[in-house]
Homo-oligomer: 411 residues x 4
């Protein structure tokens, strides 16, 4: 029988930047018996989901729900809109932007990868002027799409998508704008329609608080039109059969029924808390987390205060310290999972997730484990990060006594 | 909050040929908290799954586990082994064989679709001699793969895969053999290695008793070699990055963690009952189901006794009766889901699933609902199918008193 | 780890007259994390339960919720209202009435046990005239309470409580009326206030569909007054500290938090279906069950058609057949639990439960298993009981097409 | 539907001294379908529980499992061994000792309540010499039982039971020794047999990590003999019918089936971790908690270092601070439940639970919330308790690197 007991006692603290901790309500919803995905009960569920997922993307346009990881939704975005050999302008914010570029290559596209040079490029967000400049040069409009990552999960850097939109517009370039919001959706303010995004890619296991297994493409009219001419082979990822089936609440092939139960519950939770309050809560937690890192005297991976991620914080180690050894010690001794440094950042930093179903105390616990692990790893610390986060939370609470206070529902 | 209560009281009977009823053990396993898919605890789980899934396919070769529906695994089989424009010989056993062919076309392959003519072709299994004949004609070996469905879910016809293998061999043709076992795996005897299959496609929501969301490719050395020359674009479905990650128990992108919990539990259940006993149980249930249909005086969709499916039984309606109306009445009045007739069979028949976590009484309940629904639909019945199934079960039990008897474990 | 796998595959059919099958919604609700039973969230839950449990008893008076089995609630009724040596008139309807009398003796009361003589007394309900006669003789009002069982779980006989009330009134006797509704509450119409009952005893694991562990005392003003003079020692069962704590939604000692979650869910389900519809559904199922027993040519334990239980049916075996052997065979071969004959009925009969979260198909499955088991036990059967139940259900459905039809909620 | 969402996001931290947080494994086990409590599968479960609960009490004698709260088990201890008017020597360690005395009075016993005077009596453990002195005076052996609380949940004081045993022996007094271990069982070393305890009372919702609803009496031969002469009325609590039923694995009335599932899982967890390691873990956590309180400059309720509880720590507020206001603020602002001061301690202190399924990080989170709440309540703090606990944990880990390290099971 399944046993997940590497640690003998107590709850595991999952503070990686996704999968985020799945709330009990979602786990319970997900464990309802599987029903007939062609029956009327499923249809009612499907129609509800297709309708209520839209406000999460701030869109009135269709949202495709795939049974796959977010990686699958990247593929969906590309194969529905592009043809073999098409040029794609992709911006290197970090590891996941890099993986998306690799995918584009594997699919036979010609990605052009721009960004600030060296490791420093991974410490800042998308530079819209670089995009504008490159597009202006592209007089013949060979570039068919611009692909950027809203919140780069590998670094904790959030880019300004509206500025990217404006950059494209300023260049008067017809390229599609595709945005990866896998780790920002339902955590960081995002506006598919208002910002003129053509394909928004997302996943289930971050702000939506689901286990992995579901992914999304929110699509614009322009993207749907692009699909008609797009020649990359596609079948599983093809939008149109899904949209057709979705009209009555179904999918063309067997959907991920039990994860859809969890999605339904997630939408209830988020819409009940209020999307704007969800965003504000993520910001509050991230401010406290950065206060801790600063107090330790360690560097935050993101070095542009405008681009700090509300979702995760990358903590850089002093030279000579292997971040993975610190993470391993913390995992083994304190039952906490942190995110590893990836790609260029491997061994240099670890990532603290503070997204989804997170609150002050889970973050305080995570920071405590980090502080104890750093001490045990003999990393010199300027002062207590835990104390700094504590002070930040106290200040936040004092500023707004009404905020985040228990919800005294009367039955 | 999630409510699945179209029927006010009592348990829903899910007797479609998949998703099959998910046992409580699996639902509970699936509702454990999501863990870090890069952590050591996940690695232990991953290594266990990658090892123990193999005996289910009767293979010592690698099995790819995808986060997708079975449809995705169809795509995985094709894009890993074939190049644009390749000819593929596909055999029309029914609706799902037809959908697979459509996928091949969408992906830019040239499927050639053979089979017995008309509706009767949907009532029999693969005719190996037709395959042998066609391959013999293909002197230049333009055909790169032969694709067949082991158990055609839309009809309840099980084909003889060993005979297909022999047909290919008799034609001395190098085509790959690809087999869809989506609705037969872990329910009907199947031997990937012994039968020389190159790619076996399967899914989670049938014999494995999981919810939908996981799918499989079992692959041969020959298939892995074919991949090297295959030119269809592939990224999500690409076997090699998965096999590389799997070596240490991980996946290249976020796997479907909670469904993998359920898979672990499923493997425990199946390997504990014993795969051969699982197969025997499915046969016993199918014999009783067909006894009922014969007693009613209705036709079984499959008209070749050698090809009767142990997994589901297609029940044909007399002309003038809309099978979907009967199904709807049964759903509404008796809280039972049956499978619809699909494609050419639409409205002509319904399908009774008797697979996965099924036993005598769930089948008796299903047959009771069918009998009541047929009576209420004014379908003339020769005699009671329920009584016939009852007599069959009594005869089975008398023949082997030891069989299926409660397992008196002493604590 | 917990394994409940005496039968290898398929769902167990629990058709005993309690515990009844617990719906998934309740199991999921019950598995939410335990909260502080002194915190504000618990208080909101407590207030809701204390309010909404009342309509289930059809009372506006307080209902005590105990953490115990129904047996505990029997004790609660006696120790709160009576003094050592008090006479109590108890009516022997069957095994549970007998156990209640034994409890009264153990507690130092003087129960007088009346009823029709011999085994036949267990086949009929309470005879109100016997109660009236006895009370009229009791000129000095030595009898302090009349105790009867509404639905005798051991026999499947439902007594007329209003007639008992009238009998007491006709004798102008001040005795308290105490009624055991453990197996009738929320399944059979029952009216605590209208029928002038002083203490109604009940439990969780029957009509309320919960697991065992919670029990009830609904109490009248007269009972509360009797408590003041009652001298039996009491502490755990004492009503008054509970009523005092209940005023704010709490309990004086740690309540059964997770079962209270399930109770909350149960109240939602029952009040949503509608209590009267719940009663009607139980009657429909019981009519079909008795049709089956009659078709088999077997005797129903209850021999008064006015007293047939909507909750369970006792099936008598022909002489020479050991009912427990039949039950054992059915359990082992067909994965169905039936109730045993108890006390005087041991070995003579088995009991089919059709209560709580039951529907037509679970009953058809149960009857199929009984029929197969009876055949395998060589019990001569007149005709098919399954066919008779089938015909009854078809007739019921035809009579009222609207009834029990799926609830087409539009999302 | 059940909603427990007074706080919008993130996990609730339940750090009261019981109910302790219920591990996911237990919640999942508890949500399996209820089975027939008279069937063979239940019997196997029952036999297992009756056997494996004994080592938890360190006894080879029978352990009674009641369906009730711990309060019920107090009543069980008294009514099985004593007669109306019997004298009982009870020691006042705190609120729960006081409640037990009140129960004894309600049941018609004559409890004599001794202890150190005033509030200071609530800050120390049982004084064995006071018991010895009193018993020596009792030449006629009017005192039938000595009742003490092992771990006083209201104060965080653990008494030395072996010393109490020796005190009774030194007085050569035949009184029964009854011990309440409700909040110490499976958390603090306890030895029913070795220490010569006659009745050990316990509950499910503390060290056993279950929800409330099950309680225990471990009993000695002497206690069973006392039962024969004991005249308090008893029925639900009567040991003998339970012991008789238990011989085959059953209970005389319907047991709390689903909580017994959780008990089975709990025994697996505890026996797998090892009882002595469980005790050591509780000690480690309590040392860190007290380090925090000392650092704050606040007083620990228990003022005898020999009697510090490994299970909970009482934190006294400076005069003028209402501890309940602090608790309320922490609950509302930080989603953490703490225990209130009870009885004489009301408003003076709050209690931090660190028992059951607890680990370093849950305690760090709890201490963080306390520290933030104290600051927001303007309670002057000497220094950071969180930092002190951090240092203590680091020191513990450094002392024993092997200890508490992740359990690298290879699959």
């Amino acid at each position: 029988m399944l046993r997940l007991d590497f640690h003998h006692s107590g709850r595991h603290f999952l503070q990686i930047p996704g999968p985020s901790p799945v709330p009990d309500r979602l786990l319970r919803a997900m464990s309802y018996p599987t029903i007939d995905h062609r029956g009327p009960e499923f249809g009612a569920l499907g129609r509800r989901l297709i309708r209520d997922i839209r406000p999460i993307f701030k869109t009135n346009q269709p949202v495709i729900i795939y049974g796959s990881s977010g990686t699958g939704a990247w593929e969906g975005a590309l194969v529905n809109t592009l043809s073999p050999g098409d040029s794609v302008l992709m911006y290197e914010t970090g590891h996941f932007a890099t993986l998306w570029r690799e995918m584009a290559e594997k699919l036979g596209l010609k990605p052009e990868f721009i960004g600030l040079p060296g490791y420093e490029g991974w410490r800042r967000g998308v530079q819209p002027n670089m995009i504008a400049d490159r597009l202006r040069q592209d007089r013949k409009h060979a570039i068919k799409a611009v692909c950027v990552v809203h919140n780069e999960t590998s670094t904790g850097v959030t880019s300004d998508i509206l500025a990217v939109r404006k950059a494209i517009d300023s260049a008067e370039h017809p390229a599609l704008l595709m945005v990866d919001t896998i780790s920002s959706l339902a955590s960081v303010d995002y506006r598919h329609d208002e910002w003129g995004v053509d394909v928004t890619v997302s996943g289930s296991q971050k702000g939506l608080m689901l286990p992995p297994g579901i992914a999304f493409n929110a699509i614009s009219e322009k993207a749907r039109n692009a699909r008609k001419a797009a020649k990359l082979p596609r079948s599983y990822w093809d939008w149109d059969p899904i949209l057709t089936s979705n009209e009555t609440g179904y999918w063309p092939y067997t959907p991920n029924t039990n994860l859809l139960y969890a999605l339904s519950e997630s939408l209830d939770m988020i819409l009940n808390e209020g999307l704007e309050e969800v965003f504000a809560r993520h910001i509050r937690l991230s401010v406290a987390c950065r206060a801790a890192v600063s107090a330790w005297g360690l560097e935050i991976q993101c070095c542009d205060a405008e681009a700090y991620s509300p979702v995760l914080t990358g903590v850089m180690m002093p030279s000579g310290v292997d971040a993975d050894e610190v993470r391993k010690l913390i995992y083994e001794q304190f039952n906490l999972s942190l995110g590893a440094g990836l790609g260029k950042a491997k061994g240099r930093m670890f990532r603290i997730g503070h997204l989804g179903d997170c609150n002050e105390l889970t973050l305080m616990a995570a920071l405590s484990a980090c502080e104890m692990g750093l001490i045990m790893s003999n990393v010199p610390l300027k002062s207590s990060g835990v104390a700094a986060a504590r002070d930040e939370f106290v200040a936040q609470k004092r500023k707004s006594e009404a905020r985040n206070v228990v919800n005294y529902k009367r039955s």
